[in-house]
């Protein structure tokens, strides 16, 4: 007997929860950024699990697009982080409390 679909869904939910807890607990911008990446990956696992259990390729195409969005988010997000650090000399999110860069 192989792993069932619900096992993958449970693993995905656990990873998503860990990522969400990290976003709330962490105060470092880069650490919060990595927690968001972890949440995206948890959702990707759900997509791939459903895709291969239902024999439909659509889920894997969605994973492909999610990865592209994550790459764009990484580029823009790290650009924002560098600009914030250059202006404030700090990576603490509480120091970046105004929207002005």
């Amino acid at each position: 007997m192989g792993p069932q679909l619900s096992w993958y869904l449970a693993l995905s939910a656990i990873l998503f929860t860990i990522g969400a807890v990290g976003v709330i607990i962490k105060r470092n911008v880069i650490a919060m950024f990595m927690c968001i990446e972890l949440m995206l990956n948890a959702v990707n696992l759900t997509f791939v699990a459903f895709s291969s259990f239902f024999q439909d390729v659509t889920g894997q195409l969605f994973v492909f697009i999610v990865m592209t969005v994550a790459a764009a988010e990484a580029a823009v997000g790290l650009g924002i982080i560098i600009t914030i650090f250059r202006n404030r000399e700090s990576l603490d999110v509480d120091d970046a409390s105004i929207l002005k860069l």
Partner: protein, 221 residues
């Protein structure tokens, strides 16, 4: 056999994820996150999705994490800053929300437990590069093209964000002693502080503003 692989890689992913959240040094968090990505890529292989597994390793563990680690090392922040007291209440709040999320998940899993969906044993081409490419270029062509536009926007946005904006042009000239700047121009965190700060030359003003200033050669000679 598949069950054993699932337990190994799921344990790797969960362990690395917990290590990532509990680390205080962002560099160690990044290394742990790579462990999560590798574990998930292995799970994709067991789910018969080799293309997604390869892209996971190449794009996530390769490109994105290299970018993150590059930024961590570029900024080089010391992580020994003392934690602030008023943030202590965030930890119980986060744990409470995690408990709620887990409870919801357990409820859903309990509800769908009756559906015994098994991984199909027969060989199919779902998940191979051929079927993914066929789907991307026929039925999902429009999302694919929109994604490429999104990437172009990200390139332009990242460039315009990371560019150093200049307040003074290189050819700007002021009368000595007359260059007066307000405090909130020099220090972005002193908002509304209009304290006047006098500088003698354009070079001094440029230095205060953090702008590279090169005097024009023709006028020096």
């Amino acid at each position: 056999m598949t069950t054993l692989l699932f337990i190994i890689f799921a344990g790797l992913a969960i362990g690395c994820a917990i290590a990532m959240v509990s680390q205080s040094n962002p560099l160690y968090s990044a290394i742990s996150l790579i462990g999560v990505f590798i574990g998930l890529a292995s799970l994709y292989v067991t789910l018969a999705a080799p293309f997604i597994a390869a892209v996971q390793v190449i794009v996530y563990a390769g490109a994105i994490m290299v970018l993150v680690i590059f930024v961590i090392m570029l900024l080089n922040v010391e992580h020994s800053e003392p934690r602030r007291k008023r943030l202590k209440f965030l930890v119980p709040v986060a744990l409470g929300m995690a408990a709620i999320l887990i409870a919801e998940t357990a409820f859903i899993l309990y509800s769908v437990q009756t559906s015994e969906k098994r991984l199909p044993g027969n060989i199919s081409d779902v998940g191979l590069t051929h079927s993914i490419g066929e789907g991307l270029f026929t039925r999902y062509l429009l999302p694919f093209e929109i994604t490429s536009v999104l990437l172009l926007m990200a390139i332009v946005g990242a460039m315009s964000l990371a560019r150093r904006t200049t307040v003074l042009s290189a050819t700007a000239r002021v009368v000595p002693g007359a260059q007066v700047l307000a405090m909130d121009i020099i220090n972005p965190r002193a908002i509304g502080d209009r304290t006047a700060i006098e500088t003698e030359t354009t070079g001094q003003a440029a230095h205060l503003l953090g702008v590279d200033f090169q005097p024009d050669r023709d006028q020096e000679e």
